[in-house]
Symmetry: C2
């Protein structure tokens, strides 16, 4: 586990960033810190400068509990699809820190923002979705630089979150991020430590000139 270094360099932050489940301490987040990480998200690039993201802060314990129960149900759905070693390995893995973290940040995507003619989106309908994810990564890295932890929960149905947080049906919830103070960050990602899946060598991901041509 490593300690926080708020003004650390970019590469250092990228390396230390973890998807946090078990390390939240539950202490409240100072407002200035929260505004800095949301500000970092808001500075992300977006297709046609559409800035199609929104951030819904969920502090209310009862709301978080309802979400946590929904996630537990979806965890069971996934567990039921597994057998043998996969089922056993998954059984040990904690998938969320919804109640332990002090805050949920739901990031949503509004396809109508900046429309109807969004510059750079006529040929790729998902481009606005991509922009929203870039904002999420900015938030995640900023939180890491601040010494905070972030955990992305994705065991949920979008319709459930729309109803829970009164999100219009035209707007998609993209992520529930558990955000909070942490005791530290793991050196190795949870899914590697628990042998769910190992790291792919970088060289395998690089291709030269065409998809079928490996790195020279």
């Amino acid at each position: 586990m490593s300690e926080a270094r708020p003004l650390a360099s970019l590469y250092d932050v990228i390396e230390r960033r973890r998807d946090v489940r078990a390390e939240f301490t539950g202490e409240p987040l100072p407002d200035d810190q929260l505004l800095r990480i949301l500000g970092a998200a808001h500075q992300a690039p977006s297709v046609g400068h559409s800035q199609p993201w929104d951030f819904i802060l969920v502090r209310d314990p009862a709301t978080r509990r309802r979400f946590q129960q929904h996630v537990a149900t979806e965890r069971d759905v996934f567990a039921d699809s597994l057998t043998g070693e996969r089922a056993e390995t998954f059984g040990k893995i904690k998938i969320e820190g919804i109640l332990e973290s002090s805050l949920g940040v739901v990031v949503s995507y509004d396809p109508d923002r900046g429309g109807p003619a969004v510059l750079g989106r006529h040929a790729i309908a998902d481009a606005g979705l991509y922009s929203t994810c870039l904002a999420i990564q900015n938030l995640w890295l900023a939180a890491t630089a601040e010494g905070l932890g972030v955990g992305w929960v994705s065991f949920y149905r979008e319709e459930f979150l729309q109803q829970l947080l009164d999100i219009p049906t035209t707007i998609r919830p993209i992520a529930w991020l558990c955000v909070g103070t942490v005791s530290g960050l793991q050196d190795t990602p949870d899914l590697e430590r628990h042998r769910w899946r190992s790291r792919r060598p970088l060289a395998e991901a690089i291709h030269e000139g065409s998809y079928r041509a490996p790195l020279r």
Copy 2:
């Protein structure tokens, strides 16, 4: 225009990052620098640790020229959808630096990577797509920290890129990133400078407890 500061802190990099079109100098990229920014991308979080991204390096000028011609056609398609002030404003905006930058990095997404049971994706089919975007933002920020420029081109049809780079039809190209050395980075995003669209105040993007409740 601001100068490069390779070991700058995260917030500084997030603020300086720009979507570059006109500032590429065309000089070749040192291999160690390229590997560092790809390594940063490869350290992104991914659903179920699936690491579903790939990076196709496109240096060949003839291939880049073919892509540039396709993009010019799609630019015309978008321009034809505009009228009045929008058409006039768009006419002044440069949308790509495909030939001026020394390298194209195409980032693709493989939905079959780590399957069939990808942890965290059973309820949200797009979750792997989101992971790929997080990798793109890591790359973009790392390039900015290195003093390089990145420009995301999205005026293209996915099928065209699949054919151009021999990408299997099951794998989606998510971005063509122009990457290269730059004379500097603009202080203000191009689409703001050219009055295509202005910045949304951060406070408007923050909601408290539900989507319909503004920031308190």
